[in-house]
Subunit: 310 residues, 2 copies
């Protein structure tokens, strides 16, 4: 049963975004505010957004971290000092209704599945290439949460046990190479640390200021070093997608994150390396690899849809 | 609805095993024969086993390789020259009934799920540590086949892109390190190729004759080199289990293969490394890691259960 007006709130490390969806899935209201620093203030901020956007018939909330199946935020790398926050229970008591809670990555996957790039696809993986890598997994027409609700932490698949250290405490996690930050790391360590000179120029001359966008811009200009880094980045992205394919054999990958602005630049090497790294590539159609469609609103839209996709 | 007598046939690289299950899942008849070399002879052999074990009410067949969702064996590393064999259709025509076909690893997972180590567990991964590594994935109470039927090829997850070459054509596949063959490789390359001397002694003095069992025997005797290799092997097994946990967050892993004879020897380092390599290990109960219960009959029992778990 589709609720008539569905409210979704995506709590991010810096801002909260709230949307109201009509029965067809279109955004009919939207509001943003900064994310406060303390647990109590975050709950209060979400409740205020919910009040400001009334009326609504259902509510879902996406949180940036590990969320249990009972709606508890266990840990959140981008919300300092916040742990074991019973988001579902606290908001449910406050608003006197059922509040669906899941991780932002799971919400984004649900959104792309229901109203975005993966509409009608019942086996796909959403891969968000940002500071780290977030994931959402849909298998057989259902979002996979896992025993504890922690499925989809695909950025911490280890792809090189002797690789660079990850803030998580291990080495060689996929997100060290294949996230947006990984692209910058590959650029800065290029040719034994000489880096991609043109990217540094575009960053105002400061190598420490290089972002993914500068590397992409340099590559689009035709800079050969930047193109080489983009190719190497494509290899690392593809390697993780191949690993996921070996486990799940999905129909599609949806890539989210800022790189979507330069989709073709990145998709070409990703698809090429995917074919080279896949097991038995000649025996199957390859999964579709495409960028997400919903941009920064994916999390909030997915939160609004949680009541349905739960 | 449970069929009264269910026939399952597991076609292996060297032998075929057939079992008949009673309604409770107990094996009430069993027959074996060698696996012939040609496609036509394999179909004939399976049909003969089916004839010899009559009466039965349903039939399932497990094949050693990549099986499509429509029962076609696309490729089989251990059946030379056999490809694109329409097992389901050919046997269905021959026997005039529906014949369920899936990969041997998926069958083994179904068997351990329904009548073995993972009874009642709806989210688990079966990992068979043999010459390679086979996998079967159960998510939310359903076997995961994937878009092409190729889900569960977990042995070809790349865990070190600069690692040793794999017969599949890539480098550093998980099964290079963590299969039964991987254990032997770790032993033979130990200390720059000096190898585990005691294991070679147990193999009759010939380092080329060392098998996993010799390494395990040496470790159980207390040989420090063998124990070090078993520890290193445990690290590689754990690394892949951690990667799978980051994707799926399962309740349990069931390990199959010959190592089950020395379960505790291997489980201790695997569990220890699992805790060290897992993302956010302190925030969740760890999945149960246990060895399989059905031994070499798992594939045939699972084939017999395909009609139900499909």
């Amino acid at each position: 049963m589709t609720s008539s007006r569905r409210l979704g709130i995506d709590v991010g490390g810096t801002k909260c975004m709230a949307v109201v969806l009509d029965p067809g899935g279109a955004v009919i209201a939207e509001q943003r505010r900064q994310t406060p620093k303390s647990s109590g203030a975050i709950i209060e901020a979400v409740a205020e957004l919910a009040g400001a956007l009334q009326p609504w018939d259902s509510i879902g909330v996406g949180m940036p971290g590990l969320v249990t199946r009972t709606g508890v935020l266990r840990a959140a790398p981008n919300l300092v000092g916040i742990e074991d926050l019973a988001v579902g229970k606290l908001l449910g008591d406050r608003l006197a209704c059922v509040v669906h809670v899941d991780s932002d990555a799971t919400c984004a996957a649900g959104a792309e599945w229901k109203v975005g790039a993966a509409r009608g696809v019942d086996d796909f993986v959403m891969v968000t290439l940002g500071t780290g890598i977030g994931g959402g997994v849909v298998v057989g027409g259902a979002l996979v949460r896992g025993a504890n609700g922690f499925a989809g932490e695909i950025g911490h698949m280890v792809v090189d046990p002797d690789g660079p250290p990850c803030p998580c405490g291990r080495r060689g996690c996929w997100e060290r190479y294949a996230s947006g930050s990984g692209l910058v790391w590959l650029a800065n360590t290029f040719r034994d640390g000489r880096g991609v000179v043109r990217a540094a120029e575009l960053a105002g001359g400061d190598p420490a200021a290089v972002r993914g966008q500068h590397v992409a811009d340099a590559a689009r200009e035709g800079d050969s070093d930047a193109l080489e880094v983009v190719g190497e980045y494509g290899r690392w992205v593809a390697l993780g997608l191949v690993n996921l394919t070996n486990v799940l054999d999905p129909e599609m990958f949806v890539l989210g994150g800022g790189l979507a602005q330069d989709a073709e630049l990145f998709l070409t090497p990703i698809r090429e390396w995917f074919g080279q790294l896949l097991y038995a590539p000649e025996l199957r159609p390859h999964p579709v690899i495409a960028f997400a469609q919903l941009g920064e609103r994916a999390g909030a839209i997915g939160a609004a849809l949680l009541a349905e996709v739960h």
